[in-house]
């Protein structure tokens, strides 16, 4: 135990307290920094390790030693928050896609296609009850104009869906580019962290940055992170590796003809029904969650289903009107396909003009053409009719499902799907909020705590300084004895 060891103890106490104050300062400075994890000074009492013949019996330790600078974070809380956030992002994106579809073809009865179908049905009905020649031309032309309106709207809705498909393709490209950039930066940080840790220094801030990037990457693709011993991480999207150690791979988005036919399609020529795929370094990757997955699902599934529904409605409209209109002798069809193939929402068009279509049996040359037989039949095809039991000699009749019923079914399904997509998004965002609150609870900075720590370190510093002064005075007294 030397005379000067007390001074050394005080010095170590001073520097420990100072490091404490600096760390507290760093925490306070980053109280509002996104993704910052608070740090804590780890210190322990230093024990004087003495052996041999000069060992003294009653000696205090020789002060305090700083053993490390811990980054306070909980791996489980971080992983959960990351996963929930990716799920929330996916559901929010999906809800956005559904909402756009609803805006394009949704219906509440007063707006949308159902209003035009009602107008058309009403025009057919008025034509059906047109008795003579007064106003007949007007009634006929109303049927043709309103049919044209319905055709235009169906074709327009199809065009809007195709437009959304293109948008989603672009969105997927953008997201893939973002993910590629992030992956590059993660790889760079991996290098930085590995080298910093190898030199024995603290890489806490770099790790915070990397965690932030990993959160973003997970929000995009639902990526999975595997930690390695040297401090680096590997990142996987589905089963494809996007970051391994110091290296990263790019994400690319492409179109192929269908799920089975992998022939590539030029992005400009892609239509609903083609499939958007993501590849990482040439290998097909399937995002697990996140915005990119929602975008792919939206293009490959949601829009494909909606277009199929719209096509099915166009087919039903065509079949039902034509069947009612065709009669005997068969005449030209009322609705036809523009390209000769079976009718779809894109190719629906009118096969008649104001002059060429007929509403009654017989021909115009032969008077006897005011019974409006066909007009009434088409009107019923729109409205449908309830089933009727047999009465007397009249045979029983099955219920007729009207064209308006067909559209209503589709519109109702769309409303239900959009609503549940919205509900899922809301729920997922609540869950994500809670789990990121748990993570922030562990890693976030509490100012009260930091202030308390600051006061404690300040006191420790003052006291250590006092110890130093006292030691100094004692030594002074000793030195003054010698004259």
């Amino acid at each position: 135990m030397s005379t000067f060891s007390g001074i050394n103890t005080a010095r170590r106490a001073l520097s420990a307290a100072q490091l404490g104050m600096e760390t507290t300062g760093q925490n306070i400075a980053n109280v509002n920094t996104e993704g910052y994890s608070r740090q804590r000074v780890e210190q322990s009492a230093s024990v004087l390790n003495q052996t041999g013949q000069f060992a003294q019996r009653f000696v205090p330790g020789d002060g305090v030693s700083v053993t490390g600078l811990t980054r306070v974070s909980d791996a489980l809380a971080t992983a959960t928050a990351r996963q929930d956030s990716a799920a929330a992002k996916e559901q929010a994106t999906a809800a956005g896609i559904w909402s756009a579809v609803e805006n394009a073809i949704g219906d509440t009865g007063t707006t949308g296609l159902s209003a035009n179908l009602k107008d058309l049905s009403s025009a057919w009905n008025d034509l059906a009850s047109k008795s003579g020649t007064d106003g007949l031309a007007g009634a006929r032309s109303l049927v043709v104009t309103r049919s044209q309106t319905v055709v235009t709207q169906v074709v327009g809705m199809n065009t809007q869906l195709e437009g959304q498909y293109d948008q989603l393709g672009l969105q997927a490209q953008t997201l893939a580019t973002q993910a590629t950039t992030i992956a590059t930066n993660v790889a760079k940080l991996n290098t930085g962290i590995r080298e910093t840790l190898a030199s024995g220094a603290s890489a806490n801030e770099l790790m915070d940055q990397r965690d932030q990037l990993l959160n973003q990457l997970s929000d995009l693709t639902g990526s999975r992170t595997v930690h390695r011993d040297n401090g680096t991480v590997d990142v996987l999207v589905g089963n494809a590796t996007i970051v391994t150690g110091d290296f990263s791979y790019g994400l690319t988005v492409g179109n192929q003809v269908s799920a089975t036919d992998k022939t590539a399609v030029d992005p400009g020529a892609a239509r609903i029904g083609n499939v958007l795929v993501v590849t990482i370094g040439g290998q097909v990757a399937e995002p697990v969650s996140g915005a990119l997955k929602a975008t792919l699902d939206g293009a490959n599934k949601t829009l494909a289903d909606q277009k199929a529904g719209l096509d099915a409605f166009a087919t039903k409209l065509t079949d039902k009107v034509n069947t009612a209109y065709r009669g005997t002798p068969a005449t030209t069809d009322f609705f036809v396909s523009a390209d000769g193939n079976p009718v779809t929402a894109a190719t629906l068009t009118l096969g008649v003009t104001t002059d060429s279509f007929r509403d009654s049996t017989g021909t115009d040359d032969n008077p006897g053409s005011a019974d409006r037989f066909y007009a009434r039949a088409v009107s019923e095809a729109f409205n449908g009719a309830p089933a009727k039991p047999a009465t007397g000699t009249t045979p029983a009749r099955d219920a007729v499902v009207g064209i308006k019923d067909d559209w209503r079914t589709h519109a109702t399904n769309l409303a239900a799907s959009t609503q549940s997509a919205g509900n899922r998004a809301e729920l997922a965002s609540q869950v994500s909020l809670k789990s990121s609150a748990v993570r922030d609870g562990v890693s976030g900075v509490n100012l009260d705590e930091e202030m308390t720590n600051l006061v404690a370190y300040q006191h420790a510093y003052s006291a250590a300084a006092k110890v130093l002064t006292t030691m100094d005075e004692a030594l002074q007294s000793l030195l003054n004895m010698v004259r």
């Binding site: 509440t108 008795s131 008077p367 308006k404």
Partner: protein, 301 residues
């Protein structure tokens, strides 16, 4: 609550909660200002399905309402014509009875014959009653005359009928149709038309052929029966229309009330809810202002 609370987590939670309250307030405000609680199908898909169905049903109801009006117009066009025909036939019958007793001189018989011919023209006018540019008694044809004299014919039948015997149908409720026209042939036509019969009668009267005139009485009676029967049919159909119109109007009122329930806004209820949300929002703002502001710093010196 969570294990550890920080200033930032308080702020985040406070923001999220304020956001939620504001969203609810915006929803209510939207309802009150737009007057509909169903701006989009996804707001409530169950109510949206009901709104779509009710809107379609109201449209069908309106269509049928117009068809009922149309059918009623047919009734009110045909009934006076048939009534006038019946009156004219009865008058002719009286004239024929007077002419049949043989007590009249030639001048008197000629006067009666002329009157019969004049009444025949009245009946011919009735038989060609127009509606919407066509003759009502011509079946399903849109010709302007149902019965016309054939100028080239020298012997009976001198009149031809355009009635094709077809039924004009109007849909009066979903899947239910009603015949609106009376067959012209059943009243005015037959193997020979009533006009040929009346021409013959007038000729027999002016010739003083009392046997033939007496024989014609049964023919006129048959015509009168035909016309009154047709009027009875119209009466029955009018009753059916009255009933159908009442049902249709009641149903429309019911459907519209339902639709209002589904997509309408109860302003009082919405306003009370809005006030409640507003109070909650104010409270949340105050509490947040207090908690976010304070920290240990306020008490250290």
């Amino acid at each position: 609550m969570l294990g550890r609370v920080t200033q930032r987590s308080i702020a985040t939670n406070a923001l999220a909660n304020l956001q939620n309250t504001q969203t609810r307030m915006a929803k209510l405000q939207d309802q009150i200002t737009s007057g509909t609680s169903l701006p989009k199908g996804s707001t409530d898909s169950v109510r949206a399905a009901a709104a779509l169905r009710l809107n379609d049903q109201i449209a069908v109801n309106t269509e049928n309402g117009r068809n009922l009006d149309e059918a009623r117009a047919w009734m009110t066009t045909q009934e006076p014509a048939l009534q006038s025909t019946t009156n004219a036939l009865q008058k002719i019958r009286e004239l024929a009875v007077r002419a049949g007793n043989g007590a009249l001189n030639e001048t008197g018989r000629d006067a009666i014959a002329k009157e019969i011919l004049a009444l025949k023209e009245t009946i011919l006018g009735d038989a060609n009653t127009p509606y919407q540019g066509r003759a009502v008694f011509a079946g399903t044809r849109d010709t302007t005359t149902a019965f016309a004299p054939d100028a080239s014919a020298t012997a009976a039948p001198r009149y031809s009928s355009s009635d094709d015997g077809g039924s004009l149908l109007r849909t009066i409720s979903p899947g239910v149709t009603m015949t609106v026209n009376i067959s012209g042939d059943s009243v005015y036509g037959g193997s020979i038309t009533v006009f040929d019969e009346l021409d013959d009668l007038a000729e027999n009267v002016s010739r003083g052929n009392t046997t033939a005139v007496a024989g014609a009485l049964s023919t006129i009676d048959k015509r009168i029966t035909g016309a009154t029967n047709a009027m009875a049919v119209i009466g029955a159909r009018t009753n059916q229309l009255d009933h159908a119109e009442e049902v249709n109007a009641n149903q429309l009122a019911y459907l519209e009330a339902q639709l209002d329930d589904v997509q309408g806004v109860d302003p009082a209820k919405a306003y009370v809810e809005f006030t409640q949300q507003n109070v909650a929002y104010q409270a949340a703002l105050q509490v947040t202002a207090k908690t976010v502001q304070t920290s240990l710093l306020d008490f250290l010196r």
